[in-house]
């Protein structure tokens, strides 16, 4: 009687839960596939793991064999029931966790920016940092900024079609000089906002692999200055290619300036000007 009952129960539970478990895993795999362009390395790994788990899961249908190889019988039903009841639920739970993880992973562009900004803010609060000279301070902030800014991409976008007027050697030097200029500007502004808080908002996808992360600088007197970062996924890393301050895109602003200058001067003259500008 009890055997029959356990068998029936096990059968019922399995019929419901097994496909659900599989479906959950399939869904998770699907999510990881979507995510793959967001975080290639991590998603590929997760995909592989999930696929392996899926292969290990029992196919639909009643197992003729008990989990440990024992023939189906008195304990077989109970064993099967227990095993399948436990497993699918764990899998279903894992799927929920995976979704939560995914939400965090999709926020990785935001994380990238937030981490660096928090690093800068933490450094600014450090008493040892405050004691240092301004030059040393700027250099330290610049070092942090350097990790997230993609100066080549910034330069390309800033010059737009004028980028082709520069020789490869000039392009390389331009990216360096432009980076130096922007570093200085950004570090200088960050140091000016010492006592302030930065709130991070959501992120929006501009197009595949390009994301805008919103943030707001809250000044000491309660004013909010919107500061958005635009990031690009490159080699599995999010790199900043534009900063938008109060609705003003840095790339667009510099482009308007270079357009004006390049209309009258050659790239070499522009380079000389940039060298002078970043010399001190």
């Amino acid at each position: 009687m009890s055997t029959e009952f356990s068998r029936a129960l096990g059968d019922g539970v399995k019929r419901v839960v097994d496909p659900a478990g599989r479906a959950a895993m399939e869904f998770r795999l699907h999510l990881f596939r979507i995510q793959r362009y967001n975080q290639p390395m991590r998603a590929q790994q997760s995909c592989r793991q999930t696929r392996a788990q899926l292969q290990q899961m029992p196919a639909a249908g009643w197992p003729r064999q008990g989990p440990s190889g024992t023939p189906p019988g008195v304990s077989g039903g109970i064993e099967a029931m227990r095993a399948h009841r436990r497993n699918p639920w764990i899998v279903a739970f894992a799927a929920i966790v995976a979704t939560a993880v995914l939400a965090v992973a999709a926020g990785s562009a935001r994380q990238t920016v937030e981490e660096q900004v928090q690093k800068i803010l933490a450094r600014l609060q450090d008493p040892a940092f405050k004691a240092e000279s301004r030059e040393a301070q700027i250099r330290q902030v610049e070092a942090i900024i350097n990790q997230v800014f993609d100066y080549t991409e910034l330069s390309k976008r800033t010059l737009g079609k004028d980028w082709r007027a520069f020789s490869p050697a000039q392009q390389k030097e331009f990216a360096e000089l432009f980076g130096k200029l922007l570093e200085k500007v950004y570090a200088d502004r960050v140091l000016a906002y010492t006592s302030e808080r930065i709130d991070f908002g959501g992120e929006t996808e501009l197009r595949e692999g390009q994301v805008e992360v919103k943030s707001e600088i809250v000044t000491a007197d309660g004013r909010r200055i919107p500061l958005d970062y635009r990031l690009l996924l490159q080699d599995g890393r999010w790199r900043v290619y534009d900063v938008v301050i109060e609705g003003i895109s840095l790339v667009q602003n510099y482009r308007s300036q270079f357009r004006e200058i390049l209309a009258k001067q050659s790239p070499e003259e522009v380079m000389r000007f940039m060298r002078e500008k970043t010399a001190n």
Binding site: D221, G222, S249
Partner: protein, 255 residues
């Protein structure tokens, strides 16, 4: 007397603006750079969106550049020293209160323009903000409403209203003392004056100028160093300011 002159000026400007678009459109079409042949480079496609940056006609550029130099001079030799003096003498609390009061009293401008653009929700927010700051915030001295993020709306003005109604930028102007603006936004500013309670309560030109000047100095005392940083960062400050102004206005109009 002052009010009659202002009204006449406004009428004249609106006639100019009504006639201006056709002339300027023709000018802009002639002056637009020839587009490069498509598909020549990867960047063409990839950065297509970025290439469509906001621009403005600047037929008065030589004059504007001169005016920019004048404004630059005025900043360093008049506004900045005055703001530094105020900052050194007047405590932060007083300066903030003054700024908040100026902002609060100009509520009609933001409110009416929200209504003119049929942004009912924003008008409601503006009203709630004004009510809160006038009562709890003691005549607007404290910006109490700032603790409610929903009430921090981007301020509307007549320039934006005209843009929403379909008016173009007109052309770019660097006005002595007042700074960068487009013809449309300048007209908007003139029109907004009639919604400004300060305009109706303060009598006499010298007093008006003193009030405006005081406000400008007070505002600058919070932003010392910003303009210097901008100048240091840019390769051509005039173009940087022009582009920054246009981008900022485009953003405000879209909000």
């Amino acid at each position: 007397m002052l009010k009659t002159i202002a009204l006449a000026l406004l009428t004249a400007l609106s006639i100019v603006l009504a006639a201006a678009p056709d002339v300027l459109a023709a000018q802009a079409a002639g002056g637009a750079p020839a587009s490069a042949p498509a598909g020549e480079d990867d960047y063409e496609d990839e950065y297509e969106d970025d290439e469509q940056s906001v621009t403005v006609a600047d037929p008065l550029e030589p004059f504007n550049r001169e005016m920019y130099l004048l404004n630059d001079f005025l900043y360093f030799y008049v506004l900045k020293p005055a703001a530094r003096g105020v900052k050194a003498v007047v405590p932060w609390e007083f300066r903030t209160s003054a700024r908040n009061m100026f902002e609060n009293i100009r509520f009609p401008i933001r409110f009416v323009n929200s209504l003119l653009q049929a942004k009912w929700e924003k008008a409601g927010d503006e009203f709630a903000k004004f009510f809160l700051n006038t009562t709890v915030g003691f005549l607007g001295m404290a910006d109490v409403a700032s603790i409610y993020p929903g009430l921090n709306t981007s301020p509307e003005d007549l320039g934006q209203t005209l843009a929403v109604w379909g008016a173009g930028d007109g052309f770019y102007l660097m006005v002595p003392f007042l700074g960068p603006m487009t013809l449309r936004d300048g007209l908007g500013q003139a029109g907004d004056t009639f919604l400004d309670p300060i305009f109706w309560t303060v009598e006499g030109v010298p007093v008006s100028i003193a009030v405006r000047g005081g406000e400008a100095v007070n505002d600058t005392s919070f932003r010392l160093g910003d303009y210097e940083a901008l100048k240091k960062a840019s390769l051509d400050p005039y173009t940087a300011i022009r582009n920054g102004y246009i981008q900022m206005r485009a953003k405000k109009i879209s909000e």
